[in-house]
């Protein structure tokens, strides 16, 4: 990569502090991406700091204040956009990270900040023992049969936001204007809900039999489906889904920008993109061929799936309000 001379650290040595998701995401990313990277660049060390949500990552970066630690952040693009606006992240170009060239145009950041690194979408988690056939409609969540066996993560989590939009869509409402109908419908869902903040998480809950239905991300769902020998199933109902898009960003005050760029470049390489897709079923953001059995299970990015487009910038402005309405009308209602 084309490094600048202004810092002492060279592109191929030093350390990189990455902030990213916790749990299984971290584990798989470690084995699929980070470990091979470290093998390739033995003089670079990587410190991975894990967070449960993107907001928490952003909060942590903000909290770093005058003592910047993070070099690279992998987080939901709606949250990272807010970070971009606040100047927390730096613009990156092909000059810095050559592999940006491979990223599909629609997955590049319009303002020149870090591109998407992987895509996923919200899906419906279900217990294949109780429900043998993959459900085709989100409506099943409202089914009394499963009262007390449904888990939905409430906003500010992205999943909760997504469900709000999906519900609006189902009811023929324009969620960019109003979510009244959606909220009303979701309030009807509330009695079915076992937990709005499941511990352990929604995937484990279905596997352990604590719950039967849930809202989850395709990638993890696929992964846990394997882990549980198919007890956990995941489906994309016909009414549509919402992408969960992870961007990779360089911290504006990154203490180690050079090795960080090297890492970003590697993260966008074919090798890493395929490896992570195989490991955790994240759809690549670059043009790369996946093995068929993997391609089958990652979220489709070819337009074959009905996907609701939520503009991250706009979402940032409503997420507070939506969270509020959930608290008041869905959870508290």
């Amino acid at each position: 990569g084309g490094g600048s001379e202004e810092t002492s650290s060279s592109p191929e040595s030093g350390e990189v502090n990455i902030i990213g998701y916790a749990g299984i995401w971290q584990e798989q990313y470690q084995t699929a991406v980070i470990d091979p990277f470290l093998e390739k660049y033995p003089d670079i060390t990587i410190n991975y700091s894990s967070k449960r949500s993107s907001a928490e990552m952003l909060s942590a970066i903000q909290a770093e204040g005058g003592n910047p630690i993070t070099d690279v952040a992998i987080m939901d693009s709606s949250v990272s956009d807010s970070g971009n606006q606040q100047g927390l992240f730096a613009e990156v170009s092909e000059a810095d990270v050559p592999n940006i060239a491979k990223v599909r145009d629609e997955f590049l950041n319009a303002d020149g900040y870090g591109p998407l690194v992987g895509l996923d979408a919200v899906g419906l988690l279900y217990d294949t023992e109780t429900i043998p056939e993959p459900p085709t409609s989100w409506e099943i969540l409202w089914d009394d049969t499963y009262a007390g066996k449904v888990q939905v993560v409430a906003p500010p989590s992205a999943l909760g936001i997504d469900l709000t939009a999906i519900t609006s869509e189902m009811l023929g409402e324009d969620y960019t204007k109003s979510i009244d109908k959606s909220i009303a419908r979701l309030a009807e869902l509330a009695p079915n809900i076992q937990s709005f903040a499941p511990n352990p998480d929604e995937y484990q809950s279905i596997i352990t039999g604590q719950s039967v239905l849930g809202l989850g991300q395709n990638a993890r769902g696929q992964y846990y489906s394997d882990e549980s020998d198919g007890k956990l199933g995941i489906a994309f109902p016909e009414e549509g889904t919402v992408y969960q898009m992870n961007a990779i960003n360089l911290s504006a005050e990154a203490p180690n920008p050079e090795p960080a760029k090297t890492f970003m470049d590697y993260a966008l390489s074919d090798e890493a993109q395929v490896a992570f897709a195989e490991a955790l079923y994240y759809a690549p953001s670059t043009d790369v061929e996946l093995p068929a059995e993997v391609a089958d299970r990652v979220v489709k990015t070819d337009g074959s799936l009905k996907v609701l487009q939520l503009d991250p910038a706009w979402l940032g402005t409503v997420s507070g309000e939506w969270t509020d309405r959930w608290k008041r009308e869905v959870i508290g209602g």
Binding site: L58, S82, S157, Q194, N199
Partner: protein, 309 residues
């Protein structure tokens, strides 16, 4: 009378003497020493306590719009927002009620243990005391985790009840206020036990014996003597538990299933979920005020009760 003689002084005449020179000097020196001794502590607390609180309070007068964007200004808007919002009133009331219920239940289950420990003459009393306090030394995260295992729908409690056939469907004890309250009650029991034990220690068993010799049976002795005299300790324990339970957020978060909305979880959500720091600060101030009120009420009550024992 030899050389050793005494002049018995005549009392009360002559002008009133000023404080002695030496006395003044000593006092000055002692003040200086005292100052040197407390200053490091004051600095420590200033850094770790006063500044953060002051800064937090200042933050509540800024405007925040989520995702960490803070508008430096001076406005009452942020503080007024939760105060004019029925939802936050509800959260505040719920927080208060939760503290109240946890406090009362915690006293109820801790009282027998405290009384027992204060009075037992068993040679195991040391062990029993250690058993009562050991949980205190275990992170509340760990104990909450224990409760998750116990209270879940397929946790020990529900599975045994189902097993014996006492119930047909699991009682929902986790992911709701019930679970949080059960967890908090247990987690704060050691505090309550400690606070009450020191109170019981001060009640002379002779009072109970005196009541017995005057014809009171065991129940009467308890209700007329032991219990009234233990009230100050009970009150202290209650305050402690109340205060701790409305400020904790680990347990409501892990056991509350997202349904339990109290000030502590709201603050956490606002601060780390929505990154609206001014608003989080505003909520923190509400929590502080709630606190202050309860402490003030406690002190008034304690004065009244203190005048009694």
């Amino acid at each position: 009378m030899s050389a050793t003689q005494t002049i018995a002084s005549v009392r009360g005449t002559g002008p009133h003497r000023e404080q002695g020179e030496q006395e003044r000097r000593t006092r000055r020196r002692s003040r200086l020493t005292a100052l040197t001794l407390v200053v490091p502590g004051l600095i420590g607390l200033a850094v770790s306590f006063v500044f953060p609180l002051a800064y937090m309070i200042r933050m509540a007068f800024n405007e925040g719009s989520g995702n960490g964007i803070v508008v430096e200004t001076f406005t009452f808007q942020t503080i007024l927002e939760p105060l004019t919002d029925a939802y936050y009133w509800q959260v505040t009331v719920d927080t208060f009620l939760m503290g109240l219920v946890v406090g009362v239940l915690c006293i109820v289950v801790s009282y027998p243990i405290a009384l027992f420990l204060a009075r037992t003459q068993s040679k195991w009393s040391g062990v029993l005391l250690a058993m009562a306090l050991a949980p205190l030394l275990t992170s509340s995260v760990v104990r909450t985790y224990g409760w998750m295992v116990l209270l879940n729908d397929d946790g020990l409690v529900n599975s045994s009840l189902l097993g014996v056939g006492l119930i047909d469907a699991p009682i929902p004890m986790a992911n709701n206020m019930t679970g949080v309250i059960i967890g908090l009650v247990e987690i704060f029991m050691p505090y309550a036990i400690l606070a009450m034990m020191s109170g019981f220690g001060r009640i002379s068993t002779q009072l109970e014996e005196a009541a017995g010799s005057l014809g009171a049976n065991r129940a009467k002795v308890f209700f007329r003597i032991t219990f009234p005299l233990s009230l100050p300790g009970v009150l202290t324990a209650f305050l402690l538990v109340f205060v701790l339970s409305i400020s904790t957020f680990v347990t409501p978060r892990l056991l509350g299933g997202g349904v339990v909305q109290v000030l502590a979880t709201e603050i956490y959500d606002q601060a780390t979920g929505l990154l609206n720091w001014p608003f989080a600060s505003a909520l923190a101030i509400i929590l502080l005020v709630l606190f202050g009120t309860v402490v003030a009420v406690y002190q008034a009550l304690a004065k009244k009760l203190g005048g009694m024992s």
